[in-house]
Symmetry: C2
Subunit: 220 residues, 2 copies
């Protein structure tokens, strides 16, 4: 039987290795995302996230009800008014040739957390106005780090992106840091996005959704 210290060290080395592998790979490499997610999803930090998110009525209720988006009819959403959340979401997915994620079965708080964050990721993009290019992803990563409180995964993605700038193209540092500051500031001002039942809001104008969440888009 190995000591806890030894197990910690093995865990730490695996986490560092998955980040370095990602630094040496292309932005958005799916295998690297999966490897990183697996390496840093320990129950300690997940428990801290669940406790933090449960401290608001919205978050607490989400863990009790575990609402998922269910099947999404993209074509139907795309026929909603152009200013609606549903239209923006459908248009985003159709334009980027993406399919809505199908949530796996959810049996505990950690499952629900993972499924909810994964299936609402594109909605967070829309609502926060974060682009799907590298800068938009970095902005959204900073937003997640703020709103999820103890997320090793999203903070690791920011660290990975800064390391890529250090190693391969230091002149990216200004735009990367700008994106971090923007996402962070926006998330601090905003109300929590975790646990929102987005499929009750498809017909709501995107601007009203943003206003109700106090999401203030940065200039430029």
């Amino acid at each position: 039987m190995q000591s806890i210290e030894k197990l910690d060290e093995i865990w730490q080395d695996k986490a560092i290795e998955s980040i370095i592998n990602f630094v040496k790979s292309a932005d958005g490499d799916f295998d690297c995302i999966a490897e990183l997610l697996n390496a840093v999803s320990d129950s300690d930090s997940l428990q801290k996230i669940v406790e933090f998110l449960s401290s608001t009525p919205q978050g607490k209720q989400a863990f009790q009800k575990r609402p998922l988006l269910g099947n999404i009819d993209l074509q139907k959403l795309h026929r909603l008014p152009i200013n609606s959340l549903g239209y923006s979401f459908a248009n985003h997915l159709l334009t980027n040739n993406l399919q809505p994620l199908q949530a796996k079965s959810v049996e505990n708080d950690y499952d629900f957390f993972a499924a909810h964050i994964a299936e609402t990721h594109d909605i967070w993009h829309i609502v926060t106005g974060c682009n799907t290019n590298v800068l938009g992803e970095i902005q959204l990563e900073a937003f997640y780090v703020n709103q999820l409180y103890a997320s090793r995964f999203w903070l690791a993605l920011i660290a990975k992106n800064l390391l890529k700038a250090v190693i391969y193209d230091i002149e990216l540092s200004t735009t990367y840091m700008d994106a971090i500051a923007k996402g962070w500031t926006m998330a601090k001002q905003a109300k929590p996005l975790f646990g929102i039942e987005w499929n009750l809001l498809w017909e709501t104008p995107l601007e009203d959704v943003r206003n109700s969440l106090n999401i203030i888009l940065p200039n430029g």
Copy 2:
């Protein structure tokens, strides 16, 4: 003879290794700082920094005149009025049991850049109001990344600190990210600090120095 690609790869691996070593060491470990500085001080990025800093009259003049602080009489500065830059600087060094750095001989732009940044580091701490604890250092690292434009060293320090939070204590993420956003925002608003002849300003009230540089201290 090795190909340029092979040399690049060796350089990249050395830089990554020095950052990972630092992640596994104590905050502020001097050997790690020296190893990192050595690993990421390539002439390409230094040249970009020099070009960027030379784009202002203050920076251009600094590279021409190469002004250094020279010998500093801490006791004399400590007798200046309590609100002066000189008193604050002397008091900071005396309280933290630090000695002013002695600049090495300066023979080219890169030497001057390195010597000037090193010997004015504590002055930047004073003027930006950044503490010398980890959070203050992170805030100042973000300030440097902004003001030096292409600094692998200071961006690597930020990445290193975020990695430490990912691996060892994810609950630090909020204060670390706050420090980054504060330092970054402050640096964007501020005038360039590089190239200032600080020893002409010892008697100036610190508040006047900050106002003239448009340094706005963040709340809290």
